[in-house]
Amino acid sequence: MTLSNSRDEETLRSGLALIDEVVRAHSPDADADADAEASQPSVSSRVRLTGLIAAAAVLVATVTAGTALLVRGGDSPQQASVGRNTFSGEENAEGQSQTQWVACTRSIVEGDVLRTEVGNEPGHLLVTISVTKWVKPTTGPAQKTFDIVAPHPLAHHDPLAEARDILLMVNRDTDRPSLVYGLAETPAVARHVERLAVKVTESGIACTSE
């Protein structure tokens, strides 16, 4: 049987759509939707922000179970190994741009969120962190308040809402969002950024994109 091109295309689209359906059924959302009502995360240590309420309201419902799924995946030895292999190309062109990005980052810290408040400028947050590790610069106070442009929340978890074990990267541009990752959920990103920061510091690499 010879099918017309359009029929073949329709069949292909239909098959891909069904594959998509199955992938979605196995996404962090799937568990999150089932478990969200029973286990909303504690946000007692976080002052809810008017600017973030809308986004957080959507995300909070998905955070806990989604995070649990991500943590299971992220902690496996296999995934840790994958992370090391995948993110080790600092010397190629892409790596150089990553190094430059880190060089142009004002501060990078790991720690727990003690408090978030609305900043003085629209879209800004004052985030107080109990710093467990200063990545860039390599030293600093144990507790520090950063004035940042609110990071974009992530679909499957909101590290600021969870308030602990975060990696905060403060953008040098005061009008551009900072980045925040949960260390448990995105360990490979955190490890990679730390390696780049060490390289930037030890090699004295300067930000050249200003």
Partner: protein
């Protein structure tokens, strides 16, 4: 002109993130490594942030899908292994009942999954971007930085192969429609 800053909000959109995950899976990333692959997508954003001079993004959704398709190709190249898409689909459906039409659609999806796995990774990339993400030939060419003629040629070859696969398996979507 959009910049990387306009791509980041897409990662707050569950539907968009799920679509990216599907692009990764269709591109051959094993499903149990999708979370790691998503981190790689994040790093690609950082790379683009580090190149403000050429971070020109015409269509943020197309750009994100193209990034995911590249991550999938790299995943293949670096690991040389694939968790067969067909196996995962079979596993997902083995406990689910369905009427004839539903079962028929699943057969189509299994045939398409097997077909994807037979394709060269670059052809597979174009097929996913064209028929799943629904990008135009021009958009695919722009995102992958290849000539439109190359995209058309890959699609042409891919469709010829698809027809052969569907014919050999006697599978057609229309066999299961009312």
């Amino acid at each position: 002109m959009p910049t990387v800053n306009e791509v980041m909000p897409l990662l707050a959109d569950r539907d968009e993130v799920n679509r990216v995950r599907s692009v990764l899976a269709m591109g051959g990333v094993p499903w149990d490594e999708l979370n790691d692959a998503m981190q790689q997508v994040h790093l690609k954003l950082l790379e683009a942030e580090g190149r403000p001079g050429d971070a020109e993004i015409r269509n943020p959704r197309a750009w994100l899908a193209a990034v995911a398709s590249r991550v999938a190709i790299d995943w293949h190249r670096e690991r040389g292994k694939t968790m067969r898409l067909q196996d995962r689909l079979t596993e997902a459906w083995e406990t689910q009942a369905g009427d004839d039409q539903r079962v028929g659609h699943r057969l189509v999806a299994l045939a398409v999954a097997g077909y994807l796995e037979q394709l060269d990774s670059q052809v597979r990339q174009v097929v996913v971007l064209r028929y799943f993400v629904d990008l135009s030939v021009r958009e695919i060419a722009a995102e992958l930085k290849i000539p439109e003629g190359t995209v058309k040629s890959r699609i042409h070859g891919a469709m010829r192969k698809l027809r052969a696969v569907l014919n050999s398996q006697e599978v057609s979507l229309h066999d299961f429609e009312q």
